[in-house]
């Protein structure tokens, strides 16, 4: 193998042709409930963890909708379960229950 001194950079593209747009299985997450999300970001803004670990339900849910689920479980393990997000959520999504379900599920 020839050493070139550099490597091909990764493709950051979301390819919606390859990924299924929604992968959180029904049962693990109440699909009707998360469909209410309007991605306003109130949950992440109030989250104590956003400041330290960057946890964002909005980002993770949107990524999941685009078929990117690799970080879901890690994010679920970052939640402090304090429920502030639900208190401020305009669509009243039980976010920590979703994290909890993801933690206990096999996704």
């Amino acid at each position: 193998m020839v050493k070139f001194g550099f490597s091909v950079k990764d493709n950051r593209e979301i390819n919606l042709d390859e990924k299924e747009p929604f992968v959180i299985e029904a049962g693990v997450v109440d699909v009707a409930e998360v469909d209410r999300c309007i991605f306003c970001g109130a949950c992440s803004a109030v989250c104590p963890q956003l400041f330290s670990t960057g946890l964002s339900f909005r980002k993770q849910l949107l990524s999941a909708r685009r078929g990117l689920t690799s970080e879901l479980k890690i994010a679920a393990g970052e939640c402090l379960m304090c429920n502030k997000c639900q208190l401020v959520c305009p669509r009243d999504i039980n976010i920590r229950a979703i994290w909890l379900n993801l933690l206990t599920s096999n996704i």
Partner: protein, 353 residues
């Protein structure tokens, strides 16, 4: 692409038939010198055009410009000198070989148009440093513009057609137009930036079939800043990979470009990608040949492939020559003009040569 489409017709430029002052391309000179030589031979000898070259003309400083290492005023003064040389030869049309130069000439002229005081300043600088004065060219024309203009004339003199000799089907050609050709000033191009006509016009005129592919407008991967720094070179090759991946499913017979840099990167990175990832973007593992417009024109006019310098390409072109039915002497591939054997280069690991 819909053949009925007339969008490109909104973008037309005036291309004079004759009397050009020719400026060369550094990259073409270095990597594909035969291509430039054949363009001049084609225009002068076969088409009897008047193309004048002044040995004193210099690099356009395009690479320096895009690498941010030369001040803008210096660049403008260098260009002004080229114009002055052109006037000295008695010409008013400029024929530019390189797409980067073409973009830069257009840009400088555009800047002068918008700020005449800048032009005045450059005139002053040029006069002070060289004692020269200049008139702006009437037409700045890229080599491919002219070949596009003369495509029917070339067709009449063609020895070969872009038709597969065995199947009698048109060859499937993907084209790549250099970014600086139309994306900076669409109105100074043939066909605009979205659906440029300059290369597809040639292909269709010479019997081939143009294949539209999703990343047709994507950069070839040169992107000066990406290529010039080794740390960034991974981005450069990633762009080329995107482009090649996109054209792969159409199984094109070759890639046609109008920019020396694009020819170079689409060609050389195929080798690098083959070494890095073990992939080639054709089915036989030989890579997709990349030709520039003048190489193609010269080939079809019956020039000898080795005279054009096709052995300078990384992806070997014999497969394409066989398809078109061009006769060539394999023995002559590695011989110099005087017949001396130059030696055969080492074969790469993955790419079949």
């Amino acid at each position: 692409m819909n053949k009925e489409s007339k969008v490109w017709k909104n973008y037309q430029k005036e291309i004079p038939e004759d009397h050009y002052f020719y400026v060369r391309s550094c990259i073409r000179q270095t990597f594909f010198p035969g291509a430039e030589a054949s363009l001049l031979r084609l225009l002068r000898n076969d088409l009897n055009r008047d193309v004048f070259e002044d040995a004193r003309h210099t690099c356009c400083t395009g690479i320096g410009y895009h690498a941010d290492i030369i001040p803008l005023e210096t660049i403008m003064t260098v260009m002004a000198r080229q114009f002055s040389l052109m006037n000295e030869g008695g010409y008013s049309n400029m024929l530019v070989s390189c797409v980067t130069s073409f973009g830069l000439y257009c840009e400088v002229l555009d800047m002068w148009e918008h700020s005449p005081e800048l032009e005045a300043k450059i005139r002053e600088q040029l006069f002070q440093s060289t004692g020269r004065e200049f008139d702006k060219p009437k037409h700045v024309v890229h080599g491919s513009d002219l070949v596009y203009r003369l495509r029917d004339e070339i067709k009449r003199k063609n020895v070969y057609q872009l038709i597969n000799k065995e199947t009698n089907q048109p060859l499937r050609v993907v084209e790549h137009v250099g970014c600086h050709y139309a994306k900076i000033f669409p109105h100074k191009s043939v066909g605009g930036a979205e659906f440029p006509e300059v290369l597809s016009g040639m292909i269709e005129a010479w019997g081939g079939e143009v294949i539209d592919y999703p990343e047709r407008r994507h950069c070839c991967g040169f992107g000066f800043r990406h290529y010039l720094l080794q740390e960034n070179r991974g981005y450069s090759i990633a762009q080329t990979r995107t482009k090649l991946r996109s054209m792969e499913p159409y199984q094109p017979d070759f890639i046609l470009t109008n920019c020396p840099g694009c020819t170079m990167f689409l060609d050389r990175w195929q080798y690098t990608l083959a070494e890095m990832e073990g992939v080639t973007y054709d089915q036989k593992g030989r890579g997709i040949p990349v030709l520039s417009y003048e190489e193609l024109a010269a080939l079809l006019m019956g020039f000898d492939p080795w005279e054009i310098g096709l052995h300078m390409h990384q992806v070997q072109v014999e497969q394409l020559l066989d398809k078109i039915g061009i006769r060539y002497d394999p023995d002559m591939k590695y011989r110099a003009k005087n017949g001396d054997y130059m030696g055969k280069p080492a074969a790469p690991d993955v790419l079949i040569v």
